[in-house]
């Protein structure tokens, strides 16, 4: 049963990340995902210090708040300060992440957040969690419940907000010209990224969350040029990596999260070489 929970956790996290990642890379904001995944750390620690528990709800609120603050600071340095986008991202998240690390070491005795765990996560712990049942007949570890609910929320956001996300991603000035608030959609997406990051965080860690946000979306981008297909493919790529990564990790006796990210890298390479559209080998054959 423990393999099942681990693989399911990977799948749920990667579907959420993959879907959001598509919009991030199309907005040329892949590294904003990176920034958010690190900058939520002080939010998590502060939430823990206030609530005194590793309960998900205060953590989510703390993380989402810092995610939005990160987005805001990046925009501020970039638009108002005239600093380049990548420099704004770099300065914002390293600084916030460092504050998080210092908070952890200051309150190390109280905070049961392990610094290694923050960076690399430990997906295998999900199998050790007690099962809880919110729906009669269904019991699962609480991490799985949280990831599942977040995934449903993100799927709903993308289905009902598809036109808004599509329009504000493709042509923000046209969107504004027809009276659509690009700011609202921007922060909605960024809050979703923050929340997803923090719930995936415990399982896969800050660094590998970035892999889940970017690699499946980048792979899907190479394979198709239709947005709905891109979203589905990105989700599938993540699911395949969760299965493949788990068994690879068992076989090599290695970290599951690292194995998942490695499989993502392999999938991306395959798409890069063999994609029907942009694959370099296919292009050469066609010539």
């Amino acid at each position: 049963m423990s393999d099942f929970w681990i693989i399911l956790t990977g799948c749920l996290a990667s579907v959420s990340c993959g879907l959001l990642g598509c919009f991030l890379i199309l907005r040329q904001m892949a590294m904003v995902g990176d920034a958010i995944s690190h900058a939520v750390l002080p939010g998590i620690v502060i939430a823990f210090l206030f609530s005194g528990s590793l309960d998900s709800v205060p953590m989510l609120i703390g993380a989402a708040t810092f995610g939005v603050i990160t987005t805001y600071l990046i925009e501020l340095f970039n638009k108002k300060g005239g600093l380049q986008k990548d420099a704004s991202i770099g300065i914002t998240f390293t600084w916030l992440f460092a504050i998080g690390v210092i908070l952890i070491s200051l309150y190390a005795d109280d905070v049961h957040i392990d610094q290694d765990c923050v960076l690399f996560g430990e997906i295998a712990y999900v199998a050790l969690e007690p099962l809880v049942s919110y729906i009669p007949g269904l019991s699962a570890p609480s991490t799985v419940w949280v990831l599942f609910i977040v995934m449903l929320l993100i799927i709903a956001m993308i289905i009902f907000g598809y036109k808004g996300l599509f329009l504000t991603t493709f042509d923000p000035s046209f969107a504004a010209a027809i009276g659509v608030s690009t700011v609202v959609w921007h922060y909605l997406l960024m809050s979703a990224v923050s929340v997803t990051t923090v719930v995936s965080f415990e399982s896969v860690g800050a660094i590998l969350v970035v892999a889940l946000l970017i690699a499946p979306a980048a792979t899907a981008y190479l394979i198709t040029d239709k947005l709905p297909k891109m979203l589905v493919i990105a989700a599938l790529v993540g699911v395949i990596a969760s299965f493949g990564g788990y068994y690879l990790a068992v076989w090599l006796d290695a970290s599951v999260a690292a194995a998942i990210a490695s499989v993502l890298g392999i999938e991306f390479t395959l798409a890069f070489l063999f994609s029907p559209q942009d694959g370099i080998i296919i292009k050469r054959l066609r010539r």
Partner: protein
């Protein structure tokens, strides 16, 4: 020269816009009559794009006000269509031509309602008018520059607006495409629409536009094209680039202003 009209479709009053405290538009004040094809002309960096963006509320105004149909933008937004510069979007985006044209329907429908059959019909009709019907299901990453421009025009047509603000629709298109776009604009004018176009080529501007604005941070002139196109006013707009200007002078003498059909 600044000719004011009664009952204008667009009124810009004492408009000043600055980026980082540096004024880009200074005290710009003009009116535009209904049903005209209007050119905005000026050198690079004159603030032409900024003027259009300010009219659409996309950049903050330092001072002044703008009225469309004697009303604020928010109450007449559905009657106004904005065609951004082609380079302002990523054409590698995973979308089809039809997807982009259907965006023209989003404003009227809101973002939550599904695209209806009627919306699709309007989108196809718009594509037909710009000669792009065969490209409807093509991915936009596979379009040429001229086809990209016509996709944007089809999206604007799908908005079914009355006033169109277009930023350089002729940039980077070949002569044949430019001609077909001009024909489309003339057709739209015949339907009573007002079309404001940012344009670079002085030579063709004389032929295309009924009304011309000369802009270089300040408004140099606003009026019927034949009155505005004088060597002095052009000189004031473009500064000392005399080779260019004397060429235009010759050209105007040569042409003696062709009678424009109207």
């Amino acid at each position: 020269m600044n000719i004011q009209v009664d009952n204008p479709v667009l009124e810009v009053h004492d408009l000043t816009v600055s980026y980082d405290k540096k004024p880009v538009l200074w005290d710009v004040d003009f009116t535009i009559p209904y049903g005209n094809l209007v050119g905005i002309i000026g050198p690079n960096g004159a603030g032409k794009s900024t003027l259009i963006k300010a009219i659409m509320g996309l950049v903050p105004k330092g001072s002044g006000y703008i009225k469309l149909y004697d009303d604020s933008l928010d109450s007449v937004r559905h009657k106004v269509s904005y065609v951004p510069q082609r380079e302002s979007v990523d054409w590698d985006f995973p979308a089809s031509v039809l997807d982009v044209v259907l965006m023209g329907r989003y404003g009227k429908k809101g973002l939550l309602k599904r695209v209806s059959k009627k919306d699709k019909e309007i989108a196809y009709e718009s594509l037909k008018r710009v000669n792009m019907l065969d490209f409807a299901s093509r991915q936009i990453s596979q379009l040429s520059g001229g086809q990209q421009q016509r996709t944007f025009l089809a999206r604007a047509l799908a908005q079914e607006a009355d006033l169109y603000l277009m930023d350089e629709p002729f940039a980077g298109v070949d002569a044949a495409t430019e001609r077909s776009i001009v024909d489309l604009l003339l057709e739209m004018r015949k339907e009573g629409k007002t079309i404001v176009v940012v344009h670079h080529d002085l030579q063709s501007a004389i032929d295309y536009f009924d009304w011309t604005l000369l802009l270089n941070t300040r408004l140099v002139a606003s009026g019927p094209t034949e009155k505005v196109f004088t060597t002095e006013l052009l000189q004031e707009t473009y500064g000392g680039k005399l080779t260019l200007l004397s060429k235009i002078g010759d050209l105007m003498k040569e042409k003696q202003f062709p009678a424009r059909e109207k």
